[in-house]
């Protein structure tokens, strides 16, 4: 773990009054390694190290902690602060319906998460959600959401006669308005951030439905590319939050920090399993510990 590595690195340096430049330089290398191993983007790691260096150098040595423990605490606190303590409760308005769009790269867990979020909102925020899949590309995608809706007792809007994502979104919206569902969850097809046509499709769906929330669903095992996809989805569509999936695995989840830093948007939910109740709100301190190993 990082604490062990820092203990070893710093054990021969004398702790005398202040954290010396020597203490900090020695520790920074270990911290950078830990962040890269945890898949934090190397540019984000660089900025993070610079911030920690500034906070650490010249600080009074705390008598109850060894220098290594003090450095770990500075790093941990900085990480928790950056990951941000924003509430994961979605903020709704009086409008019927409030629309939540679910977007992201292929295979990240959007369809499964749409079912989970619907269940969570019904249970924890007393919402009446309607689901719709606008994935007209992937084989059996609409069927997949239908099976999930049935399994979780949710209502789903279907329009098998169309193969246009925009039409599905628009008609689902009207249906929610007319039948009083206060929340519309729109599952979208996985797509590459460099696919202009498909990114335009997301902008069009957004235009039709004016969502209060656009959640970027990202896989916890995403590596250095998290910055590129997160940034591009934010630039072109505008995300309002992130859901990090497959956190029941052993990926350290550094992508969370990378995406937060580059989009400024908070992680709101975490997926922790394949079942539809496997959703948790995001706790910055937990993922900070996980990133630091």
């Amino acid at each position: 773990s990082l604490s062990d590595k820092l203990k070893r690195t710093l054990k021969n340096l004398r702790g005398e009054g202040v954290l010396t430049r020597e203490h900090v330089e020695a520790a920074l290398r270990e911290i950078r390694m830990a962040l890269l191993e945890a898949d934090v983007n190397y540019k984000v790691a660089k900025d993070f190290i610079a911030a920690v260096k500034e906070k650490a150098e010249g600080q009074q040595v705390w008598t109850e902690l060894k220098p290594s423990e003090q450095v770990v605490k500075i790093v941990y606190d900085e990480l928790v602060e950056l990951l941000g303590g924003t509430s994961s409760r979605l903020v709704f308005t009086k409008q019927i319906p409030n629309v939540v769009m679910i977007v992201g790269l292929q295979g990240s867990g959007k369809t499964t998460s749409t079912g989970k979020i619907a269940m969570w909102l019904a249970k924890n925020q007393e919402r009446k959600p309607l689901l719709v899949s606008t994935d007209v590309y992937r084989p059996a995608a609409r069927e997949q959401l239908k099976v999930i809706a049935r399994a979780t007792g949710q209502s789903i809007f279907e329009m098998p006669e169309t193969n246009d994502a925009r039409t599905l979104a628009r008609e689902a919206y009207k249906h929610a308005q007319q039948t009083g569902f206060d929340t519309l969850l729109i599952d979208t097809a996985g797509r590459l951030h460099i696919d202009d046509e498909l990114m335009e499709e997301l902008v069009a769906i957004k235009g039709e439905t004016k969502p209060i929330e656009i959640l970027f669903v990202a896989d916890a095992m995403t590596g250095q590319d998290a910055v590129r996809s997160g940034e591009e989805f934010h630039r072109r569509v505008g995300i309002t939050g992130v859901m990090l999936t497959k956190m029941d695995g052993d990926a350290r989840g550094g992508a969370a920090l990378s995406i937060k830093q580059v989009t400024g948007q908070p992680v709101k939910f975490v997926g922790v399993g394949e079942k539809y109740d496997a959703l948790e709100p995001f706790y910055p301190d937990r993922i900070a510990q996980r990133i630091l190993g």
Partner: protein, 284 residues
């Protein structure tokens, strides 16, 4: 070359970052740069182009070494062993089912009778998804309803393949995280079932790795290799911006070769992995 050493230090930093940015990982990056530094010290590398070439050569040798040690191919299995069984495994959402559609197309086009086994009996609409691929490629599919024991579907598929004299059986499995011991045990059980029905089966076990995967991909490969006996890697979603460098770390540590690359969502978007082309693309 007055300022040569100076240039190299900064340039080496830039190149180190390029390798890290490609998800090659710190240990493999340091290993490559160490060898390169030795070449610089011996005056064998004297300018930027030579430096880039040296790094490319290091990467290529890692991948080619794995190809040598790696794999089983269909040619190494006797003609009398039938069907040739390919199991497709990996964590959730990486592209297993889609890859099978592409593989079925390719293998059928080579003149084989292909049969597909829908052994993901867990996830919503998993067999519906595979059924559409089977229909698109004109390949028969063996499936059972959701909740059936996957080993039972596999067993039925092996029996069907033998009675139909299929040349190749491709087995789709449910996505599973490598730290779930019960799910990994399920995979082990499926291998035993295959081995009892057909000599040496599964003859090929391909681990599908998503090109966006970071360092966790190495742990995925370690666990799947240990428990499911992986023989090769399929690197998917290389049509994105991620470089899939974790496959290089996997090649170096575990000697697993990359057999195919997924470059899109359509049935023809699968290529036999070309190490030289890949290494060149890392520096674009």
């Amino acid at each position: 070359f007055q300022g040569r050493k100076q240039i190299d230090a900064e340039l080496l930093d830039e190149l180190e970052e390029a390798l890290i940015a490609a998800d090659i990982g710190v240990p493999t990056t340091l290993h490559i740069l160490e060898n390169v530094r030795r070449g610089i010290a011996r005056n064998q590398i004297n300018d930027i182009d030579a430096l880039k070439l040296a790094i490319k050569t290091e990467l290529l040798s890692i991948l080619q070494e794995a190809e040598k040690n790696g794999v089983v191919s269909e040619e190494s299995v006797s003609e009398t062993v039938s069907p040739y069984v390919m199991m497709i495994v990996g964590v959730n959402g990486v592209g297993k089912t889609t890859t099978i559609g592409k593989l079925a197309q390719r293998i059928k086009a080579e003149g084989n009778d292909v049969l597909i086994c829908a052994a993901d009996t867990f996830r919503a609409a998993a067999s519906d998804q595979l059924a559409i691929w089977a229909e698109r490629t004109g390949v028969p599919l063996i499936q059972q309803k959701q909740g059936t024991d996957p080993a039972a579907v596999l067993f039925d598929s092996l029996k069907a393949a033998k009675s139909r004299n299929s040349d190749v059986l491709i087995v789709d499995t449910a996505g599973r995280l490598h730290n779930k011991s019960n799910l990994m045990a399920e995979l082990e059980k499926m291998k035993r079932v295959a081995g009892r029905e057909v000599e040496g089966a599964p003859h090929e076990t391909l681990l599908v790795i998503d090109a966006v995967t970071g360092q966790n991909g190495l742990e995925q490969a370690r666990q799947f290799l240990k428990i499911a006996g992986v023989t090769g890697i399929v690197l998917t979603k290389l049509d994105g911006t991620a470089k899939g460098g974790i496959a290089v770390a996997i090649a170096r540590e575990l000697n697993l070769p990359i057999r195919y690359a997924g470059i899109g969502e359509k049935v023809d978007d699968l290529v036999v992995f070309d190490a030289e082309q890949y290494v060149n693309s890392l520096f674009e």
